[in-house]
Subunit: 93 residues, 2 copies
């Protein structure tokens, strides 16, 4: 016992993805709205569109959200399994 475990790495990876106010706000908004186009997210944040897109990418790589192309738009929503996973890992502390 002592070294960093796989669970430590997984939790750190997810926590890091949530380690920026904009990304927390995005997740919260998606949970409230169910799903949301990128533009709406941009409108709700005091950040430029490329910056928001970059934050969305971080959340997507972490697996917390998924993006579905819908015509000219991209619709984002949370992956409830990953949100559950975060809650379990934090709750397991």
């Amino acid at each position: 016992m002592g070294a960093m475990t796989a669970a430590d790495t997984e939790l750190a990876r997810l926590a890091k993805a949530l380690g920026h106010p904009a990304r927390v706000a995005i997740v919260r908004r998606l949970l409230a709205r169910g799903e949301c186009a990128c533009g709406e997210i941009v409108d709700g944040l005091p950040l430029a569109q490329p910056t928001v897109s970059q934050h969305l990418k971080v959340l997507k790589i972490a697996g917390l959200i998924v993006g579905e192309v819908d015509g000219p738009r991209v619709c984002y929503c949370v992956d409830p399994r990953m949100v559950r996973r975060v809650k379990d890992l934090i709750g397991g502390l």
Copy 2:
């Protein structure tokens, strides 16, 4: 509704502090042991002593742990209120 709230910033701040495997491992160890001297933490991690001390500082600034000087040693333990706070904030997602 839309902009980043104070709760978003607080959660992001705490999540960021947990956004490194070593820091998660430290918190977990402290929760398991109750309290722990710095040296024991160093021994349990594949990192140099200054690096561990730096990680401890991050956790301390975030309020997740507190350090008490005990002779030549420094005894660390988690602040249970802050751990509760993290769980509540994550659970509230």
